[in-house]
Amino acid sequence: MSAKRKVIFALPLLITVVIFGYFFWALTKPGRDPKILPSVLIDKPAPEFDLKALDGLNVPGFARSDLISNGKISVVNIFASWCIPCLAEHPDMMKLGQRDDINLYGINYRDKPEDGLAWLNKNGNPYHRVGRDPKTRAGIDWGVYGVPETFIVDATGTIRYKHVGPLNTGDLEGTILPIIDSLQTQ
């Protein structure tokens, strides 16, 4: 009885310990950023879309069918001319675009076509195909909310990974490339 009574008095402490455990987890979990929302589309088929090319750019637009047509892994990057962080990851995109064992596709998000074109002409076009999405409809179907975002889609058209925000060299070499490699060996 007495022990039972004591447990009741210790209950607030026990509950608090559990709650603090969660706090501690949330603060110390590496890479946890409450502002970054994990995608619900991971391991789901990429959405249907068909995006027109940027007029005057020497690469075509692309549709969902282009993700599964050539048996390659696709990296789909969401970019815009007004997006300053896109500039930061651009050198890494250029590097990635040199690989021909993958598709590097760009979606020009919420942009005037002429602005997107001018931006690519000025900074270089790393993409094998670029689709324009001025009203962000394709972006919404992809669950895009911040620019830049980068998706990895496997050869069957299934989304396997999403990165929100600019990629730095560390992200590219530490995360993106290993995922591509492991998908290629599958």
Partner: protein, 661 residues
Amino acid sequence: MIAELGQFALIMALLAAISQSILPLIGAERLDSRLMAFGSHASLVQLLFVILAFGCLTQAYIVSDFTLLNVAENSHSTKPLLYKISGVWGNHEGSMLLWVLILALFGAAVAAFGRNLPVTLKARVLAIQAMIGVGFLTFLIFTSNPFTRLLVPPENGQDLNPLLQDPGLAFHPPMLYVGYVGFSVAFSFAIAALIEGKVDAAWARWVRPWTLTAWIFLTGGIALGSWWAYYELGWGGWWFWDPVENVSFMPWLMGTALLHSAVVVEKRNSLKVWTILLAILTFSLSLIGTFIVRSGLLTSVHAFAVNPERGIFILILLAIAIGGSLTLFALKAPALKSGGMFSPISREGGLLLNNLLLSTACATVFLGTLYPLFMEALGGGRVSIGPPFYNKTFIPVMVPLFFLVCIGAYLPWKRADLVGVLKRLKYAGLAALLALLIAWYISDGGPLLAILGLGMATWMLLGTLSEWADRIKLFRAPLAKSWQRAKNLPGSSWGMTLAHGGLAIAIIGMISTTAWKVEDVAVLKPGETLSVAGTDYRFDGVKEITGPNYSAVEGTFNVSQDGVYMATLKPEKRLYTVKRMPTTEAAIYSTFVGDYYAVIGDPDGKGGWTVRIYREPLVTWIWFGCTLMVFGGLVSLADRRLRVGAPADKRKKKKVREAEA
């Protein structure tokens, strides 16, 4: 030099706090009166040094000393003086310094006003108070130093976030902090009582005024914050169940429960263990609130710039404070002697029910605020918990509480006759029913829940008034006698009537503005009129104006009803030049029956402007009701102070009064 002085003062304050947290405790154990008395002196010294530090930082802001990192990051030389001063706490470091200042203030106040406290209790309370001070001073000095110098000072500062450049910043955070931190006194008293192993009516009498003070400020702070969020666009209106709003609301709910349960301890010597627990939980929730706002754990509209290291530091502080106090509770509370018995239908029973419902409400808010985190930790994905959740869970808990408030006020101690009480409330009930029908008729059948809610709030208001009328025998005795009785009514009794009535009025405002808000948006050219809810808003065009640190477009609206002029509204669209950040300043014409709220948007390029008009019925009742609650608290506090200051004297006075009556 000033900044170094501030830095030095902080370190001195820390040293004072450290000695204050150790020596009086030893003194209380050994019954050494010199060591015990040391606590009072140290708390004063601590306060003086914190004031000095705060003064130094304020000075740096006023003279725009950009060699200080904190000033350079959050101020600008063209910023108006009011925002230079209030900008001191418009950032993490400065607001933490304000926190520490208020904590020291409360410590010194306990030392100054607690002259007739038992010496050991006083020594222990001051020591606990100082321990909290040590924690937060350490946090301030080692992770959030406001006096960090810049090697290369910039020519000018980065300015304060324009959304914060508002008179709201001058009053809302300080009031809120006095509320949060004020509960530390109840906490310290609870811990001291656990150490001493004694809780009695006298203890409750000591704790109540401090709890009440904190409650008054917290109520005022929350009300001001909600008003600020109401007129500032993009903050989700007067209440959005934002995590930061919730963390201020949880201590309020618990503190309100504590105020009520402490009455039972004071009057009936019962519910002691529960009251101690409430005192600990109330301040713990204040601490958790501070932690959540500053650690970046959750996203919110109002959060501070975040830094995970600070988060860990506060978390450890909290673990020590909350974990330590609850451990002490688990060890010592079972030995506390239980007190007076009572029947479930009694004043005590009513207050217990009040506590049950308030605690459940608080748990609901807690769950809603932190559940996303728990789900994420368990790998359940991310969820948002917003108003729809609270409407379904929080309101059903509060409805019975509101319904029972005026019944509870009628119940006598120990044992009550419920039927008799209900009979005395029959007129209030009938009147509330009538109000319900009128509301139903006026709103044309309107939203049923809102109408029922209005009926309930009217019941609460009239029931409260009827209890007050019964007390002074209004209309049952000659008016002069009623007047005499009203004058002799104790302050706490007046306070209760005012607070309960104020709450009812605030609820009426909340329901009305939620259910019957009208809004419209249109593109207007100068000279055109938009009619919203029977009121005409004639758009008289825009002009460009320049403020001290912004440029703006100001629209002019002529508001009239049936051709009768009512007001001129001048909403603005500002661009703050330093941050290059646009803000929208609404223009509001407030009346007793509702607000006329105008916002100017973008030009359409063809001579028209996007215009937004809102009609918010009875919205001002929310803050009027809150003001009454605060006022009720003050009246009650005035009474308390008398009684605490001179209990014997008061009894004599009462006897004299009784003899007169």
